[in-house]
Amino acid sequence: MSNPVIKCESVYKIFGENAKKMLQDSNGNVDAKTFQKNGCIVGVNNASFEVSKGEMLVVMGLSGSGKSTLLRCISRLTDATGGKIFIEGQDLLQLNNKELIELRRNKMGMVFQSFALLPHKTVVENIAFPLQIKGIKTEDSISKAMDMVKLVGLDGRENYFPRELSGGQQQRVGIARSLAVEPDIWFLDEPFSALDPLIRKEMQDEFLRLQDKLQKTIMFITHDFDEALKLADRIAIMKDGIIEQLDTPANIVLNPATEYVRKFTEEVPREKVLLIEDVMDPSTTENIGNLRVLRDEIIENVAEKILTQEKTVAVIDNNNKIVGSINPTKIINTVFGGRKNNN
C-alpha cells in the first residue's frame, strides 16, 4: 500500500449554490440535514480511502447513496467540493483542462450503466473512438479496436450498429471501448445493472476472466450486494454519502461495522462468500484427521467433505504446509448459527 494508484483524502461533494462556503464554515463536520435546509444536497461526505495497483474496490450502495457521485469526483466528471484526490501521486484537482484530457486519454477508462454508445458509429468505430480522439491514424486505431472486439468476444459483429445489438452485447462494446486505450485505471459505473439476471451472471464471469488477464486498478460501482461480494477485493458500503464500512468481503460479512451494513449481510449465504481461511483456527491442534483442504477454498465447495469427518480437518496452503485447522462444528456454526444475534 506504499504507492496507491487512487488516493482520496476527505473528499466532499455538495450540490447547491453556496456549497463551497458552507463546507468551509462547517469545519469538516457535514450534517446532511442542516445542509438540506439551506438548499444544499450532500453527495459525498468525507470519503477517504486508497486503492492500490491491481486491486478491485467495489463501492456498494443503494440509489442516492452518492456512490456514482464519488466515482464522478474521482474521474473528475464533476469537481469535488472539498478534499484531495491523487491519481498515481498526481493531485487530480490541480490539473488544468489539457492535463486532465491527457490523463483521460492515457490512464482512465470508464464503463456506463446505460452503455452510452455513439449511435452513429459501428461497433468497431465506437471502440476505436477514444483512440481516434487521441489522434491515432484510422487504420491503426481500427486494427487495435479489432483486437478489443476479439477480447470481448464480439468478432463477426464489428460492423453492426449499437441499435442492432442486445444489451449484453452493447455492454461488451462499452467495456471494449473503455479498454481500447489500455488504461491503468478502470471505472465501472453499475455496468451490469441494466442487464437480465442470466446475462448479468455471464458478464460477471467474463469480467472476472478479463480482470484476471489484465490486472487493472478498478473502481466498480454497484447496488447489488451479491455482485459486490462476488467481484470485490475490498468493498466500500455507502449510505447518504458516507462510507459506512470499507473492508474485505469476508470481514464485512463476519463483522459488520454498523446496523445498516448488517442488514445487507443477514441474508447473505455465508458458505458462498467465506473462505476456509476466514473461519479456520490458526493454532494447529493435535487431533487432526487425514483430510486436507486448501485455505482459499470457498466453504460451500468443501463443506460436504468436512462435515463427513469426525476429526478436525487440516488446512493447508498452496505449498502443502499446514497453516491451521477447522472442525465440522465450526462449519455448522458459520453456516447456520449466529446470524440474528439480537433475536
Binding site: 466528471l77 483521460r104 477508462g109 470508464m110 456506463f112 452510452a116 454508445l117 452513429h120
Partner: protein
C-alpha cells in the same frame, strides 16, 4: 356551501364571469364612439385629442378610460420608424471606398453594412439561379461587361430541366426509395410541362440560399444557448415572440432596411427560419443522455471534439428535423415574400390572384403545394435515414448514385442538344419550357369557376348573406361592445385562476400592450375572426380526430393528410376559397377553418393515441364498453394534449386571419398590408406584428400553464 367547497374552482370562475358581465353592462358606450374604418385616425378631426411624447405627436379619439384605454403606446411605431431611419441614414457616417466611382464616399455605417449584405445575398441568389436557369450576371461579377461583350460564349447555359428532374429523383431515391423518387420525378415533369419551370427554379434558388444560411446560424445559436444559460435566457423571449408573430409582419421592417427584392426577402426569411432551428437544436442537445456526454469526456474529448464528434451526431435526428422546419419556413416565406418583390412562384400567384385569374392561381398554387410536399418528404426522409455500413462495398456500389447522376447529366445535355434540331425556330422544350408556354389548364379552371358561379351563385350568395348578417356581424358587434377594462379583468382573472400571480402578471402585461396601442378595436376584430375560426375548427377537429382514432388505419391516414396539408404555405389556402366564395369575410373564415382544423385533428389523434395501452387493458378488464372507455379513460388523459392542439389551432387561425387581409378584412392584418406600401410603415408594421404575436402569447401562456399543471396532476408530465 357544500357545493362551493366541493368545487372551489368552479365558483371562482363563475365569480369572474359575473364581474366581467357586470362591468360590460355598467360601462356605457360613449356617444362619440364609432368603429373607425379606414385610416381616419391619422387625419385631424375635431373629436381627436393628442399628446406629445419623446417629441412625437400622437393623435387619438378620447373616450372614457373604462371604455377604451388611451393609446399611450401610440408613439412607439413612430419612434421605431424614426429610429430606424436615423440608424439607416444618419448614424455613424464613415468613409467607404466605392468601386464604381473609384473614390471615397461618406455613408452611414448601417446603410453600408446593409448594402454590403444585400450585394452578397444578391450574388448568392444570382449564382444559384444562373446555374439552374442560365444567365451572365455572375460571370460579370467576376469579370466585367466589356469582357462579356468580347467573349459572348461565356454566358452560363443553365441546366436543362431533364437533369434537375433526374437529379431530384436520384436524391429522393437515395434518401427514401422508389416511391419518393417517382413522386419527385413526376413533380418536376409536371412543373416543367406546365410552364412553371422558371418561377419554380427562382423559388428553389431562394430556398437554396436562405435554408443553409438559416441552418448555420440556427445551429450556432442553438449550440451557444446550450452552452450558456445566459444566451438561452436572452434568446428565449425572442424565440417565443417569433413563434407567434405572423410571418409577413416582419416583411415590413425588411423593406426599410434592405429594400425591395429577393435579397431583402432572403435576409428576412433567415430571421423567421432561425428560431425553429435554434429550438430544435437545443431540444436535440438536451435530449442526449448525460452518460453519452460523460463517455465522450472520459474518451478524452476536448470541447470541440465533444461537440462535433459526440453531441451533434447523437442529436442528428432532432437537428435534421430542424432542417426540415427551416426548409418549410423558407419555402412559405419565399411565397409570402412576393409582397416585397421576391421573384418566383409566390409572385406569379400574387399576380394571378390580383387579376382574379383563378385558373392561373390554381396552377401556381398546385406547383407550390407539390414542391412543398416534396421538400418536406425529402428532408424528413433525410432525418429518419439511419446510417448504413458501407465499408465492404465496391467502388461502384458506394458511388452508384453519383455515377447515375453523372450519366443523367450527359444524357440531359445530349437531349438538349438534339432538341436544338427538333424544335428549330421555336422553343427548345428539351432544354427549358418557357414560362406560360407549356400546357395550361387555366382556361379550364376559369370556366369551371364561372360555371360554379353561374350555377350556384344564388345558394352561395344566400349562405354568404346569412352567415354575415346572422352570425358574423352580431358576433363582431359583441366583441366590440366589450369595454377595455372588462376585457382586461377577464383575461387577468383567467390568468390568476389558472397560473397564479405570475401568469396573471404576464398576461396583464401582454394585454396592456395591445390595449395601449392605437389598434385595440382592430385587435378585437382579429380576435373575433380567430375565435370564430377556432371554435368551428375545434368542433370539426375533435370530432374527426375522435372518429378516426377508432380505427388504426384511418388514424394513420388522417395524420398523413394533416402532414400534407400542413406543408402548404398558408397563402395557398386562399385560392380555392376565393374561387368559391369570392372576396368576402366568408372566404377568409373558411380558409381559417380549413387551416386551423389541421392541428386540432392532429393533436386529438395524437393525444388519444398516447394513452398507455396498459390502461386500455385495465379498462377493458373492468368491463367498460367502447363509449365508456372513451369518456372515462381516454378523453381525461388525452385532454391536456388536445389543449396543446387548441393552442396550435389558435396560432394557425391567427396566421390565416392576418394573411386574409389580402382578401380584405378590417383587422390588424389589413393595417400590416397597408404598412407594406407606406413609406413610414416599418414601425407600424412591427408594432402590429407584435400585437398579433401577443394575442397568440396570451392564449399560449394560459393554455400551457393549465396543461403543465394538469399533466403534473395526472402524473404524465
Amino acid at each position: 356551501m357544500e357545493f362551493i367547497k366541493k368545487y372551489p374552482k368552479l365558483f371562482q370562475w363563475l365569480f369572474l364571469l359575473i364581474v366581467f358581465f357586470a362591468l360590460c353592462f355598467a360601462i356605457d358606450v360613449p356617444e362619440t364612439y364609432k368603429f373607425i374604418r379606414g385610416q381616419a385616425e391619422f387625419v385631424k378631426d375635431p373629436n381627436q385629442s393628442s399628446y406629445i411624447f419623446l417629441g412625437k405627436e400622437v393623435r387619438y379619439y378620447a373616450f372614457d378610460v373604462f371604455w377604451r384605454l388611451p393609446p399611450l403606446l401610440g408613439w412607439l411605431p413612430i419612434w421605431i420608424n424614426d429610429s430606424l431611419f436615423f440608424i439607416m441614414n444618419e448614424w455613424m457616417p464613415m468613409e467607404f471606398w466605392n468601386e464604381d466611382t473609384q473614390e471615397f464616399k461618406t455613408r452611414p455605417l448601417v446603410l453600408q453594412i446593409s448594402r454590403g449584405l444585400t450585394a452578397f445575398m444578391t450574388f448568392l441568389i444570382e449564382l444559384i439561379r444562373e446555374i439552374l436557369l442560365g444567365g451572365l450576371e455572375t460571370i460579370v461579377a467576376f469579370t466585367s461587361w466589356d469582357w462579356i461583350d468580347k467573349n459572348p460564349w461565356a454566358e452560363l447555359p443553365g441546366l436543362p430541366w431533364t437533369i434537375v428532374a433526374a437529379g431530384a429523383a436520384i436524391l429522393s431515391y437515395k434518401l427514401s426509395g422508389k416511391g419518393l423518387a417517382l413522386f419527385a420525378g413526376l413533380t418536376m415533369v409536371y412543373i416543367s410541362l406546365f410552364g412553371q419551370w422558371k418561377p419554380s427554379m427562382q423559388t428553389l434558388s431562394f430556398i437554396l440560399v436562405a435554408a443553409p444560411l438559416s441552418f448555420v446560424f440556427g445551429l450556432g445559436l442553438g449550440i451557444a444557448a446550450f452552452k450558456s444559460k445566459r444566451v438561452e435566457k436572452a434568446l428565449y423571449p425572442i424565440l417565443l415572440v417569433m413563434q407567434t408573430m405572423p410571418q409577413y409582419a416582419v416583411l415590413v421592417p425588411a423593406l426599410v432596411l434592405f429594400g425591395v427584392g429577393d435579397h431583402a426577402a432572403v435576409i428576412i426569411t433567415m430571421v423567421v427560419a432561425v428560431p425553429p432551428m435554434i429550438l430544435l437544436t437545443l431540444l436535440g442537445l438536451r435530449a442526449i443522455p448525460p452518460e453519452v456526454i460523460e463517455a465522450g469526456r472520459m474518451s478524452g474529448c476536448n470541447n470541440w471534439q465533444l461537440m462535433f464528434k459526440v453531441l451533434i451526431p447523437t442529436a442528428r435526428r432532432d437537428i435534421l428535423i430542424g432542417v426540415n422546419q427551416v426548409i418549410m419556413v423558407c419555402f412559405s416565406m419565399a411565397v409570402i415574400s412576393a409582397f416585397i418583390g421576391a421573384k418566383g412562384l409566390g409572385f406569379n400567384l400574387l399576380l394571378a390572384l390580383n387579376q382574379l385569374n383563378i385558373g392561373l392561381a390554381l396552377e401556381a398554387g398546385l406547383c407550390i403545394s407539390l414542391i412543398a410536399i416534396l421538400l418536406d418528404k425529402m428532408s424528413l426522409a433525410w432525418a429518419n435515414k439511419q446510417t448504413d455500413y458501407f465499408g465492404n462495398l465496391t467502388f461502384f456500389q458506394r458511388n452508384k448514385n453519383i455515377l447515375f447522376f453523372c450519366a443523367t447529366i450527359v444524357i440531359g445535355i445530349v437531349l438538349a442538344y438534339i432538341g436544338t434540331f427538333l424544335f428549330k425556330g421555336s422553343f427548345n422544350y428539351l432544354f427549358e419550357v418557357p414560362h406560360n408556354k407549356g400546357i395550361s389548364t387555366a382556361d379550364f379552371w376559369n370556366k369551371g369557376v364561372d360555371w360554379i358561379f353561374d350555377t350556384f351563385f344564388i345558394y352561395i350568395k344566400a349562405f354568404n348573406t346569412w352567415l354575415i348578417q346572422e352570425v358574423l356581424q352580431p358576433m363582431r358587434a359583441l366583441y366590440l361592445r366589450m369595454p377595455a377594462v372588462a376585457t382586461l379583468v377577464l383575461v387577468v382573472g383567467a390568468g390568476y385562476l389558472i397560473g397564479g400571480i405570475r401568469s396573471a402578471l404576464v398576461v396583464c402585461a401582454l394585454t396592456l400592450f395591445i390595449a395601449l396601442s392605437p389598434w385595440w378595436d382592430r385587435a378585437l376584430v382579429t380576435t373575433y375572426m380567430a375565435t370564430f375560426g377556432v371554435v368551428i375548427s375545434c368542433i370539426i377537429g375533435f370530432t374527426v380526430g375522435t372518429l378516426c382514432f377508432q380505427n388504426k388505419n384511418s388514424a394513420k391516414f388522417m395524420l398523413g393528410i394533416c402532414d400534407i396539408f400542413q406543408t402548404f404555405p398558408s397563402f395557398v389556402y386562399l385560392i380555392p376559397v376565393m374561387m368559391l366564395f369570392g372576396i368576402t369575410d366568408t372566404s377568409v373564415l373558411i380558409a381559417v377553418i380549413v387551416y386551423a382544423t389541421i392541428p386540432a385533428t392532429r393533436y386529438t389523434i395524437e393525444g388519444l393515441r398516447s394513452v398507455p395501452s396498459g390502461l386500455h387493458d385495465a379498462a377493458t378488464m373492468s368491463g367498460v364498453n367502447k363509449f365508456q372507455r372513451l369518456t372515462k379513460i381516454e378523453f381525461p388523459l388525452a385532454f391536456p394534449h388536445m389543449m396543446l392542439g387548441l393552442n396550435q389551432t389558435i396560432v394557425f387561425a391567427l396566421f390565416m386571419v392576418i394573411i386574409g387581409a389580402f382578401i380584405g378584412t378590417e383587422d390588424l392584418g389589413q393595417y400590416i398590408l397597408k404598412a407594406l406600401s407606406d413609406k413610414n410603415g416599418a414601425g407600424i408594421g412591427l408594432t402590429l406584428g407584435i400585437c398579433v404575436a401577443f394575442i397568440g402569447l396570451i392564449f399560449d401562456n394560459l393554455i400551457r400553464t393549465w396543461v403543465d399543471k394538469r399533466k403534473k396532476h395526472l402524473g404524465i408530465a
